[in-house]
């Protein structure tokens, strides 16, 4: 009991220290503020909006931005702002889920490959070699075609595309760590392999993965938008940002407001996540700090 308590204390102070360092960089501060803003707006905003996400209003087709419709309306008279907010929920959840799932798989595979070595490592790494012969976006396109439309199909497709790099990196990290004294110490007191891997190795290799996972959130949001732009992934009438861009591209000359706002929404969200990722890197990697 005592041990667990002490460990928790240690962890929380480490985490506190880490948060403190994260918030020291101006970029990360802006990132956190932007992200909190996007999350609040996307999850609270729709409750306040007088319009429905798929509420068609033919009197307001292509309406330019006005006091009633702040961002205007699309080809079916649907309020763009309301659709953007709902779309944000999809994008944020999609990005987070994919980043978390793909990092967990990457860490697990990378740890197993790096720590066990031998045939296991060869098998996993050769598998990853094949995997990364097909670039992530391409795999996502293919898997998305196989799985069909829908939220979970898209998460699955994007996860498949995001794993290979993380496995390589975790394995490299494990290879560097496993030669250190604390692993030798754990081995010498007869710790089981699994407990060494999860209790000793994992906490020490997880940091770079956190950075990659954060960056992956942004990359995933962009890729998801790209997928629905070319007609895969999440489909209309679901208000997904990429699908909204695809809807509006025919009216680019006459009604540019339809394609302007979804792109800005994507850019702000991805920017927020990337800024936090940069801040994390500076906070976690003392080598890069000045």
């Amino acid at each position: 009991m005592l041990n667990v308590k002490r460990e928790n204390q240690l962890k929380s102070s480490l985490f506190g220290d880490f948060l403190e360092r994260l918030m020291k960089t101006a970029a990360a501060k802006i990132g956190v503020v932007l992200l909190v803003f996007m999350v609040l707006v996307c999850f609270v905003g729709p409750l306040l909006s007088p319009y429905e996400k798929n509420g068609i209003d033919l009197t307001n087709m292509y309406a330019k931005p006005s006091a009633d419709h702040l961002f205007g309306c699309d080809a079916m008279g649907r309020d763009i702002l309301t659709r953007l907010l709902y779309g944000g929920q999809y994008s944020l959840i999609l990005g987070l889920t994919t980043a978390v799932v793909s990092s967990l798989i990457s860490i697990l595979m990378g740890c197993i490959a790096g720590y066990f070595g031998g045939v296991t490592e060869t098998l996993i790494m050769r598998f990853i070699d094949v995997w990364s012969a097909l670039p992530g976006i391409l795999l996502a396109i293919m898997v998305s075609a196989v799985m069909g439309a829908g939220f979970f199909a898209t998460v699955f497709a994007l996860t498949i595309g995001a794993i290979a790099g993380g496995v390589r990196m975790t394995r490299g990290q494990v290879l560097a760590e496993r030669k250190k004294e604390y692993i030798e110490a754990a081995e010498s007191i007869n710790c089981s392999k699994l407990s060494i891997m999860f209790k000793h190795l994992l906490p020490n290799v997880v940091q770079p993965m956190i950075i990659i996972a954060t960056m992956n959130i942004g990359a995933t949001i962009m890729m998801a938008a790209g997928l629905s732009y070319i007609g895969l992934g999440i489909q209309p009438p679901t208000p997904e940002w990429g699908a909204m861009l695809a809807d509006g591209r025919s009216y680019i000359r006459l009604y540019p407001h339809i394609i302007t706002f979804p792109g800005i929404a994507i850019a702000i969200t991805v920017l927020a996540v990337n800024l936090i990722g940069d801040g994390l890197r500076d906070a976690l990697d003392p080598k890069l700090r000045d």
């Binding site: 970029a27 070699d129 094949v130 990364s132 012969a133 097909l134 670039p135 992530g136 976006i137 391409l138 396109i141 293919m142 898997v143 075609a145 196989v146 069909g148 942004g218 962009m222 938008a225 790209g226 732009y229 070319i230 007609g231 895969l232 861009l245 591209r249 680019i252 000359r253 540019p256 394609i259 302007t260 979804p262 792109g263 994507i266 850019a267 991805v270 920017l271 990337n274 800024l275 940069d278 890069l288």
Partner: protein
């Protein structure tokens, strides 16, 4: 070195065969009946059966797979499109130059401009030139490139009328796609180049080299540059594969009939030979770029070379 290259090439072929297996299986699993999509929903059962036999998709999975691998790797025959009836290789040969022109030009632009910007930022570290470049790079990696492309069309084609927005035909048609495909890479390379330079400037071996009285231009040329180049090469290679693999989206935006768009035609029409051929091309392209990248590493980094010769003999 020769043995290293040979080994890598053999390994590359094995990867391609495995990738062919993966892509075949994926296409096999795509829901929908190609015969039905070709003949329309009104076709009778018998006609559909004949069509399926004609396409060879009535055979068991393993037979089809064997047939595909045999034709692709032994006979170098990528098959004929189910929908258009034309050999896929011919269609691809017509489209390939367009995708490659955009991909390679974007690569050169992003490698040169990105690296120059990165070094420029590193030299001016902490001053306004540095922060401006880095803020710009941050914004560029956060903006989706296909949306930026739409905005460029809006500005340069729809509003100013300087450049054509869609299709191919003249040199002007390629300007916007190349710029839009390169901006993400410019930003990545600028960030990568900056941190690589900064890390090298501070590295101990540079201090050592100076301390032992090495001439400055040799310090830069022999000690700093090769080390700074490694991450830059990674960035450039990654950028090229990203650009070419992202071509389905970019070519859709600009309506360019290239490989990426061809692949989407295949996906939407359940035309497996087209999709398989395109994906095989992307896989080949990626593995070749990675191979060249690894060779550059081995060339630049004596540690890799030494490690390899020790292990293999």
């Amino acid at each position: 070195m020769g043995r290293y290259i040979l080994n890598r090439i053999i390994w590359m072929i094995l990867i391609l065969i495995a990738a062919a297996f993966v892509i075949f299986t994926l296409m096999y699993l795509v829901p929908g009946d190609p015969a039905k999509s070709l003949l329309g929903p009104d076709a009778s059962y018998e006609v559909l059966e004949i069509k399926r036999h004609e396409l060879g998709i009535d055979r068991p999975y393993i037979v089809q797979l064997g047939d595909f691998l045999y034709k692709t790797f032994i006979r170098f025959d990528l098959g004929t499109s189910w929908k258009f009836g034309t050999p896929v290789v011919e269609d691809m040969a017509e489209r390939l130059p367009r995708t490659l022109i955009i991909g390679v030009s974007a690569l050169v632009l992003s490698a040169v401009l990105g690296t120059v910007l990165g070094i420029f930022a590193a030299i001016n570290k902490g001053r306004w030139q540095d922060s401006t470049t880095m803020v710009l790079a941050m914004v560029l990696i956060s903006v989706p490139d296909f949306w930026l492309a739409l905005m460029f069309i809006l500005l340069f084609s729809a509003t100013l009328g300087w450049l054509p927005a869609y299709g191919i035909g003249s040199v002007g048609h390629y300007i916007l796609p190349i710029i839009c495909s390169s901006l993400f890479g410019v930003a990545i390379n600028a960030r990568q180049g900056r941190s690589a330079m900064l890390e090298t400037i501070r590295a101990e071996f540079v201090v050592t080299a100076r301390a032992k009285g090495q001439r400055e231009n040799i310090v830069v040329r022999k000690h700093m540059l090769p080390n700074a180049l490694m991450p830059i090469i990674t960035g450039v290679a990654g950028g090229l594969t990203m650009t070419v693999a992202g071509s389905p989206i970019m070519e859709t935006v600009f309506s360019i009939p290239g490989i990426g768009q061809y692949m989407l035609v295949g996906i939407n029409g359940l035309d497996a030979p087209i999709v398989r051929a395109c994906v095989m091309f992307f896989a080949l392209f990626t593995t070749v770029v990675i191979l060249i990248m690894d060779l550059c590493y081995a060339f630049l980094d004596p540690r890799i070379k030494a490690q390899y010769s020790r292990r293999k003999g």
